[in-house]
Protein backbone atom coordinates (compact mmCIF):
# COMPACT_ATOMS: atom_id res chain seq x y z
CA UNK A 1 0.00 0.00 0.00
CA UNK A 2 2.82 2.40 0.90
CA UNK A 3 4.49 1.63 -2.42
CA UNK A 4 1.29 2.43 -4.31
CA UNK A 5 1.00 5.79 -2.55
CA UNK A 6 4.57 6.72 -3.50
CA UNK A 7 3.88 5.77 -7.12
CA UNK A 8 0.66 7.78 -7.11
CA UNK A 9 2.63 10.66 -5.55
CA UNK A 10 5.02 10.70 -8.51
CA UNK A 11 2.08 10.76 -10.92
CA UNK A 12 0.48 13.68 -9.04
CA UNK A 13 3.83 15.51 -8.93
CA UNK A 14 4.17 15.19 -12.71
CA UNK A 15 0.55 16.21 -13.11
CA UNK A 16 1.00 19.40 -11.08
CA UNK A 17 4.25 20.33 -12.81
CA UNK A 18 2.47 19.80 -16.13
CA UNK A 19 -0.63 21.80 -15.21
CA UNK A 20 1.34 24.77 -13.90
CA UNK A 21 3.89 24.61 -16.72
CA UNK A 22 6.87 24.47 -14.39
CA UNK A 23 9.16 22.70 -16.85
CA UNK A 24 10.80 24.41 -19.84
CA UNK A 25 9.28 23.36 -23.15
CA UNK A 26 12.44 21.81 -24.59
CA UNK A 27 12.27 19.13 -21.91
CA UNK A 28 8.73 18.26 -22.91
CA UNK A 29 9.61 17.95 -26.61
CA UNK A 30 11.31 14.59 -26.23
CA UNK A 31 9.40 11.49 -25.37
CA UNK A 32 11.60 9.75 -22.85
CA UNK A 33 8.83 7.53 -21.57
CA UNK A 34 9.23 4.98 -24.36
CA UNK A 35 12.85 4.29 -23.35
CA UNK A 36 11.90 4.19 -19.69
CA UNK A 37 9.21 1.68 -20.62
CA UNK A 38 11.76 -0.49 -22.46
CA UNK A 39 13.94 -0.45 -19.36
CA UNK A 40 11.01 -1.31 -17.09
CA UNK A 41 9.91 -4.25 -19.25
CA UNK A 42 13.43 -5.67 -19.23
CA UNK A 43 13.61 -5.30 -15.43
CA UNK A 44 10.14 -6.80 -14.91
CA UNK A 45 11.32 -9.76 -17.01
CA UNK A 46 14.36 -10.23 -14.75
CA UNK A 47 12.06 -10.05 -11.73
CA UNK A 48 9.77 -12.74 -13.12
CA UNK A 49 12.63 -14.99 -14.29
CA UNK A 50 14.53 -14.77 -11.01
CA UNK A 51 11.48 -15.34 -8.80
CA UNK A 52 12.58 -18.16 -6.50
CA UNK A 53 9.09 -19.47 -6.25
CA UNK A 54 8.95 -20.02 -10.01
CA UNK A 55 10.98 -23.25 -9.87
CA UNK A 56 8.76 -24.53 -7.10
CA UNK A 57 5.77 -23.42 -9.15
CA UNK A 58 6.73 -25.27 -12.29
CA UNK A 59 7.00 -28.48 -10.24
CA UNK A 60 3.57 -27.98 -8.71
CA UNK A 61 1.80 -26.96 -11.89
CA UNK A 62 -1.05 -29.19 -12.86
CA UNK A 63 -4.01 -28.68 -15.10
CA UNK A 64 -6.09 -27.06 -12.36
CA UNK A 65 -3.75 -24.23 -11.41
CA UNK A 66 -3.77 -22.94 -15.00
CA UNK A 67 -7.54 -22.47 -14.68
CA UNK A 68 -7.02 -19.66 -12.16
CA UNK A 69 -5.41 -17.02 -14.42
CA UNK A 70 -7.65 -18.27 -17.20
CA UNK A 71 -10.71 -17.50 -15.05
CA UNK A 72 -9.34 -14.05 -14.26
CA UNK A 73 -8.89 -13.28 -17.96
CA UNK A 74 -12.28 -14.71 -18.98
CA UNK A 75 -14.15 -13.04 -16.13
CA UNK A 76 -12.49 -9.67 -16.61
CA UNK A 77 -13.23 -9.70 -20.34
CA UNK A 78 -16.86 -10.72 -19.81
CA UNK A 79 -17.24 -7.94 -17.21
CA UNK A 80 -15.70 -5.16 -19.29
CA UNK A 81 -17.59 -6.30 -22.40
CA UNK A 82 -20.87 -5.90 -20.53
CA UNK A 83 -19.63 -2.47 -19.44
CA UNK A 84 -18.81 -1.58 -23.07
CA UNK A 85 -22.33 -2.57 -24.13
CA UNK A 86 -24.18 -0.43 -21.60
CA UNK A 87 -22.37 2.89 -22.23
CA UNK A 88 -21.03 4.65 -25.30
CA UNK A 89 -17.95 6.52 -24.08
CA UNK A 90 -15.50 3.64 -24.26
CA UNK A 91 -15.42 1.22 -27.18
CA UNK A 92 -15.18 -2.50 -26.55
CA UNK A 93 -11.56 -2.53 -27.78
CA UNK A 94 -10.58 0.25 -25.36
CA UNK A 95 -12.49 -1.42 -22.52
CA UNK A 96 -10.76 -4.76 -23.13
CA UNK A 97 -7.35 -3.07 -23.18
CA UNK A 98 -8.04 -1.37 -19.84
CA UNK A 99 -9.29 -4.62 -18.36
CA UNK A 100 -6.16 -6.38 -19.61
CA UNK A 101 -4.11 -4.29 -17.16
CA UNK A 102 -5.31 -6.76 -14.48
CA UNK A 103 -4.38 -4.30 -11.74
CA UNK A 104 -0.81 -3.71 -12.92
CA UNK A 105 -1.38 0.01 -13.33
CA UNK A 106 2.16 1.28 -13.89
CA UNK A 107 2.83 -1.10 -16.76
CA UNK A 108 -0.61 -1.03 -18.39
CA UNK A 109 -1.08 2.74 -18.21
CA UNK A 110 2.25 3.47 -19.86
CA UNK A 111 1.82 0.77 -22.50
CA UNK A 112 -1.69 1.95 -23.32
CA UNK A 113 -0.67 5.63 -23.52
CA UNK A 114 2.12 4.69 -25.94
CA UNK A 115 -0.22 2.60 -28.10
CA UNK A 116 -3.45 4.55 -27.92
CA UNK A 117 -2.98 7.99 -26.38
CA UNK A 118 -2.89 9.60 -22.97
CA UNK A 119 -6.62 9.76 -22.29
CA UNK A 120 -6.94 5.99 -22.41
CA UNK A 121 -3.66 5.69 -20.49
CA UNK A 122 -5.06 7.74 -17.62
CA UNK A 123 -8.28 5.71 -17.53
CA UNK A 124 -6.14 2.56 -17.43
CA UNK A 125 -4.08 4.03 -14.58
CA UNK A 126 -7.07 5.01 -12.44
CA UNK A 127 -8.97 1.82 -13.23
CA UNK A 128 -6.12 -0.53 -12.38
CA UNK A 129 -5.23 1.39 -9.20
CA UNK A 130 -8.85 0.98 -8.12
CA UNK A 131 -8.59 -2.75 -8.85
CA UNK A 132 -5.76 -3.02 -6.33
CA UNK A 133 -7.62 -0.89 -3.77
CA UNK A 134 -10.88 -2.84 -4.23
CA UNK A 135 -8.94 -6.08 -3.70
CA UNK A 136 -7.29 -4.79 -0.53
CA UNK A 137 -10.63 -3.62 0.87
CA UNK A 138 -12.97 -6.41 -0.22
CA UNK A 139 -10.80 -9.53 0.08
CA UNK A 140 -12.51 -10.60 3.35
CA UNK A 141 -15.93 -10.26 1.71
CA UNK A 142 -14.91 -12.00 -1.54
CA UNK A 143 -13.27 -14.87 0.36
CA UNK A 144 -16.36 -15.39 2.47
CA UNK A 145 -19.04 -15.38 -0.21
CA UNK A 146 -17.30 -16.29 -3.49
CA UNK A 147 -14.78 -18.95 -2.59
CA UNK A 148 -11.06 -18.98 -2.07
CA UNK A 149 -10.15 -18.07 -5.63
CA UNK A 150 -12.18 -14.85 -5.60
CA UNK A 151 -9.57 -12.61 -3.87
CA UNK A 152 -6.81 -13.98 -6.16
CA UNK A 153 -9.02 -13.28 -9.12
CA UNK A 154 -9.90 -9.78 -7.97
CA UNK A 155 -6.22 -9.01 -7.40
CA UNK A 156 -5.25 -9.99 -10.96
CA UNK A 157 -1.53 -9.43 -11.52
CA UNK A 158 -1.15 -7.88 -8.05
CA UNK A 159 -1.90 -11.24 -6.39
CA UNK A 160 1.82 -12.09 -6.69
CA UNK A 161 3.07 -9.14 -4.62
CA UNK A 162 1.13 -6.11 -3.36
CA UNK A 163 -2.13 -7.87 -2.46
CA UNK A 164 -0.57 -11.26 -1.58
CA UNK A 165 -0.31 -10.63 2.19
CA UNK A 166 -3.97 -9.74 2.62
CA UNK A 167 -5.08 -12.52 0.26
CA UNK A 168 -3.21 -15.28 2.11
CA UNK A 169 -4.47 -13.92 5.40
CA UNK A 170 -8.06 -14.60 4.38
CA UNK A 171 -7.83 -17.73 2.22
CA UNK A 172 -4.91 -19.49 3.89
CA UNK A 173 -1.27 -19.89 2.95
CA UNK A 174 -1.91 -23.16 1.09
CA UNK A 175 -3.39 -20.98 -1.64
CA UNK A 176 -0.35 -18.65 -1.71
CA UNK A 177 1.34 -20.65 -4.49
CA UNK A 178 -1.79 -20.43 -6.64
CA UNK A 179 -1.95 -16.68 -5.96
CA UNK A 180 1.69 -16.11 -6.96
CA UNK A 181 1.31 -18.36 -10.02
CA UNK A 182 -1.77 -16.50 -11.24
CA UNK A 183 -0.05 -13.12 -10.70
CA UNK A 184 3.08 -14.16 -12.60
CA UNK A 185 1.15 -15.60 -15.55
CA UNK A 186 -0.97 -12.45 -15.80
CA UNK A 187 2.10 -10.18 -15.53
CA UNK A 188 3.69 -11.96 -18.47
CA UNK A 189 0.46 -11.87 -20.47
CA UNK A 190 -0.39 -8.17 -19.87
CA UNK A 191 1.96 -6.68 -22.51
CA UNK A 192 1.13 -9.49 -24.93
CA UNK A 193 -2.66 -9.13 -24.62
CA UNK A 194 -2.61 -5.31 -24.67
CA UNK A 195 -0.40 -5.29 -27.77
CA UNK A 196 -2.73 -7.73 -29.52
CA UNK A 197 -5.89 -5.81 -28.57
CA UNK A 198 -4.75 -2.27 -29.50
Amino acid sequence: MKGSLIILGFFVLGLLIGIYNLLPDYLLQNDYSLYALYLLMFLVGIGVGSNKKSIELIKSVNFKIVLVPLSVITGTFIGVSIFALIQDKLSIIDSLAIGAGFGYYSLSSVLISELSGETLGVIALLSNISREIITLLFTPLFARYFGKLAPISSGGATSMDTTLPVITKYIGSDYAIISVFSGIVLTILIPIIITIIL
Partner: protein, 92 residues
Amino acid sequence: MITVLILMTLGIVIGWFIHKKENILKFVSKLTNLSIFLLLFLLGLSVGTNDQIIKNFDQIGLLAITITVFAVLGSVLVSWLTYILFFKKNER
Protein backbone atom coordinates in the same frame (compact mmCIF):
# COMPACT_ATOMS: atom_id res chain seq x y z
CA MET B 1 5.61 -2.83 -29.36
CA ILE B 2 7.21 -6.15 -30.28
CA THR B 3 10.37 -4.60 -28.76
CA VAL B 4 8.63 -4.61 -25.38
CA LEU B 5 7.92 -8.33 -25.61
CA ILE B 6 11.44 -9.19 -26.77
CA LEU B 7 12.97 -7.15 -23.93
CA MET B 8 10.72 -8.85 -21.38
CA THR B 9 11.56 -12.33 -22.67
CA LEU B 10 15.26 -11.45 -22.62
CA GLY B 11 14.81 -10.28 -19.01
CA ILE B 12 13.10 -13.54 -18.01
CA VAL B 13 15.95 -15.62 -19.48
CA ILE B 14 18.61 -13.48 -17.78
CA GLY B 15 16.60 -13.51 -14.53
CA TRP B 16 16.51 -17.30 -14.66
CA PHE B 17 20.32 -17.46 -14.84
CA ILE B 18 21.01 -14.91 -12.10
CA HIS B 19 18.31 -16.00 -9.63
CA LYS B 20 20.94 -16.82 -6.98
CA LYS B 21 22.84 -13.52 -7.19
CA GLU B 22 21.10 -11.65 -4.38
CA ASN B 23 23.03 -8.38 -4.71
CA ILE B 24 22.29 -8.04 -8.42
CA LEU B 25 18.60 -8.80 -7.77
CA LYS B 26 18.43 -6.18 -5.03
CA PHE B 27 19.84 -3.64 -7.46
CA VAL B 28 17.38 -4.76 -10.16
CA SER B 29 14.49 -4.37 -7.76
CA LYS B 30 15.61 -0.84 -6.80
CA LEU B 31 16.05 0.09 -10.45
CA THR B 32 12.57 -1.33 -11.20
CA ASN B 33 11.05 0.94 -8.57
CA LEU B 34 12.97 3.95 -9.88
CA SER B 35 11.83 3.35 -13.45
CA ILE B 36 8.22 2.97 -12.30
CA PHE B 37 8.50 6.31 -10.45
CA LEU B 38 10.02 7.93 -13.53
CA LEU B 39 7.35 6.53 -15.84
CA LEU B 40 4.45 7.60 -13.67
CA PHE B 41 6.04 11.04 -13.26
CA LEU B 42 6.34 11.34 -17.04
CA LEU B 43 2.77 10.13 -17.53
CA GLY B 44 1.59 12.73 -15.01
CA LEU B 45 3.58 15.36 -16.84
CA SER B 46 2.06 14.58 -20.23
CA VAL B 47 -1.42 14.37 -18.71
CA GLY B 48 -0.91 17.69 -16.90
CA THR B 49 -0.06 19.43 -20.16
CA ASN B 50 -3.08 17.85 -21.90
CA ASP B 51 -6.01 20.26 -21.41
CA GLN B 52 -8.48 17.81 -22.87
CA ILE B 53 -7.84 15.31 -20.06
CA ILE B 54 -7.63 17.89 -17.27
CA LYS B 55 -10.99 19.39 -18.26
CA ASN B 56 -12.72 16.01 -18.23
CA PHE B 57 -10.93 14.52 -15.24
CA ASP B 58 -14.06 13.86 -13.16
CA GLN B 59 -15.75 12.06 -16.04
CA ILE B 60 -12.60 10.03 -16.75
CA GLY B 61 -12.33 9.06 -13.10
CA LEU B 62 -15.92 7.89 -12.96
CA LEU B 63 -15.48 5.81 -16.13
CA ALA B 64 -12.34 4.24 -14.67
CA ILE B 65 -14.02 3.20 -11.43
CA THR B 66 -17.14 1.86 -13.16
CA ILE B 67 -15.18 -0.28 -15.61
CA THR B 68 -13.15 -1.67 -12.70
CA VAL B 69 -16.28 -2.71 -10.82
CA PHE B 70 -17.38 -4.69 -13.90
CA ALA B 71 -13.91 -6.21 -14.37
CA VAL B 72 -13.67 -7.28 -10.73
CA LEU B 73 -17.23 -8.65 -10.54
CA GLY B 74 -16.76 -10.60 -13.77
CA SER B 75 -13.52 -12.19 -12.62
CA VAL B 76 -14.80 -12.91 -9.11
CA LEU B 77 -17.91 -14.66 -10.49
CA VAL B 78 -16.02 -16.76 -13.06
CA SER B 79 -13.42 -17.78 -10.48
CA TRP B 80 -16.24 -18.68 -8.07
CA LEU B 81 -17.53 -21.09 -10.70
CA THR B 82 -14.00 -22.48 -11.23
CA TYR B 83 -13.66 -22.88 -7.47
CA ILE B 84 -16.92 -24.79 -7.10
CA LEU B 85 -16.25 -27.03 -10.13
CA PHE B 86 -12.57 -27.85 -9.67
CA PHE B 87 -11.20 -26.84 -6.26
CA LYS B 88 -13.81 -27.19 -3.56
CA LYS B 89 -14.29 -30.97 -3.71
CA ASN B 90 -10.66 -31.74 -2.94
CA GLU B 91 -10.76 -29.83 0.31
CA ARG B 92 -13.24 -31.98 2.13
